[in-house]
Symmetry: C2
Subunit: 321 residues, 2 copies
């Protein structure tokens, strides 16, 4: 039996592949290599129980071809569907980006799972499905759901399609609502952005917005641990869980200071105005992880510790680049 | 200024066109004529302020062509987007039906509204977004949202895309969560089904399920009244309202008896087993219309009265056919 990971060449996908291989699984990875890269896969490509196929999952026929072939070689027990556009501003500029990369990849995954009789899906959803609810605590059962980014909208659309598929053919679905996740290989996000800006101009770090945006951050090591924990311990047929550090989070200001201290301690930090970084960004939210805590899981690192560790890792990554 | 209605040749679309024309609007109607029909439009096609274009809205280029031309003739102030697959079982058999007809029609509408700078959208959503919550009262702010039909999933996906579009370009959106709506011209639904079955076999009416399914029904006249009332009185930029009679509803058993009394009073009624008609059907729910009542609207007809009136209208329609 084998396990498929879509979006395997992305930040979380390649870490997940390493974790599942370590556990003894046979892993088949798909990625269109638009935001992910082969370089992220160097470590796992060396392993005999891993195979990789470059394919765009929005193309149903191409997707069917590689999935059917993999299923014939070794029956697929489970699909971990992580493929999505991780570039939220690109999806604001053109909604077709998230339609294609965030939603149609999910829709096609469900169509093929029905065709091939694959019953188990694990899906990377997002806190973006909740939209902007101000200071309101974001629990899993909160309604209404009115996302403010096309990324969030297409993640919610994906959840909806998965929910309907459970009624007709899926056996079990895990819906993980991801927080901001940090670690390496970093491909996007505020820490990488700051490190690169400071490398280009070690005198001044210009920050979008006033730096008061505060969010929870989870280290990718904790994220993997949480997903595997939920897979094993959640009792539901449709297991939907917020994943996060469950703390107050860290401000952009604190992240800027941490990066400055690590990269260019004498740099000045220049803040912009307002507490939104871009259209579709949520200035502050309180992300409840009580349901996951009740299931018995706790993170190893707080938001502050996760950011500190990720800054060290990303500075090392960028020095090697 | 003109108003566009998509799905204008369907049951609700053609009634809406008549109502808007009566109010003095210039109306441009689109329909792919797959479930709707030109016959439904006979009454409005005679009016000079109405124009109709047969077009499939899932084809962005074709849709752009007719919308741009209409906008050039008379600037479009508002789009009433009603086009969708109304055939829920077809969407259960093949999820691509609702992807194309229920979701992509909405997605393309939003793309073109951004291109042409049209700011006001009225959208026919559905109580199907709530999924099966048992006896739980379905208020607009209920969460989580896990639909059990592809139709419900693609209505929720549409709501999500509209919500994100409001953040970037739309000025105002009305999201109407429709109940079961009855009246003429009937194209589908339980009353039409029973009338036709009894015409084919006047001795026995076979009912799917045990007949205990209980749902609220709204007459189409009340539905139009509620939509226009919300359009005028709702204060929100994103105005989302359940629309319904707000009563206990009517059982399938009662509908069967009403149709039998009207069509073939001596017919026997044979019930099936279980309280679900088909996959994706919700056996019973309590649909809250408190938000709409608070806005000051009340229906003219109860569920029982709406069904009684619709049975008379549909029997007349089928006799004329």
């Amino acid at each position: 039996m084998s396990v498929v990971i879509t979006g395997v060449a992305g930040f979380i996908g390649c870490n997940l592949a390493a974790a599942l291989l370590e556990r003894g699984d046979e892993v088949v990875g798909f990625d269109n290599l638009s935001l992910g890269s082969r370089r992220n896969l160097e470590r796992v490509l060396a392993q005999p129980r891993f195979s990789f196929h470059a394919v765009g999952l929005e193309d149903l026929d191409a997707y069917r071809g590689v999935l059917r072939a993999a299923h014939a070689r070794s029956p697929i027990a489970e699909i971990w569907h992580l493929a999505a556009s991780s570039d939220i501003p690109a999806g604001v500029a053109d909604p077709r980006v998230d339609l294609r990369d965030t939603f149609m990849t999910t829709f096609n995954t469900l169509v093929l799972m029905q065709e091939l009789g694959i019953g188990n899906l694990a899906f990377a959803s997002s806190s973006a499905v909740y939209g902007d609810r101000g200071e309101r605590s974001l629990t899993e059962d909160l309604g209404p759901l009115f996302p403010i980014s096309n990324y969030g909208a297409m993640k919610l659309a994906s959840e909806a399609a998965i929910s309907a598929a459970l009624e007709s053919h899926l056996q079990r679905a895990l819906v993980f609502r991801f927080p901001k996740v940090v670690g390496v290989p970093a491909t996007h996000g505020v820490i990488l952005d700051f490190v690169r800006k400071l490398k280009a101009d070690p005198k001044t770090l210009r920050v979008l917005g006033d730096g008061t945006q505060q969010k929870g951050y989870l280290h990718v090591g904790d994220l993997l641990d949480a997903m595997l924990y939920i897979r094993q311990h959640a009792p539901e047929k449709l297991a939907y869980y917020n994943i996060g550090a469950g703390d107050e989070g860290v401000s952009v200001r604190h992240i800027a200071q941490t990066v400055v201290a690590a990269v260019a301690p004498r740099a000045a930090i220049a803040y912009g105005q307002g507490n939104k970084g871009w259209v579709g960004d949520v200035p502050r939210f309180s992300y409840s992880t009580a349901k996951l805590a009740k299931l018995g899981w706790a993170p190893a690192l707080s938001s502050t510790e996760a950011v500190a560790k990720a800054v060290r890792e990303i500075v090392r990554q960028e020095s090697a680049a």
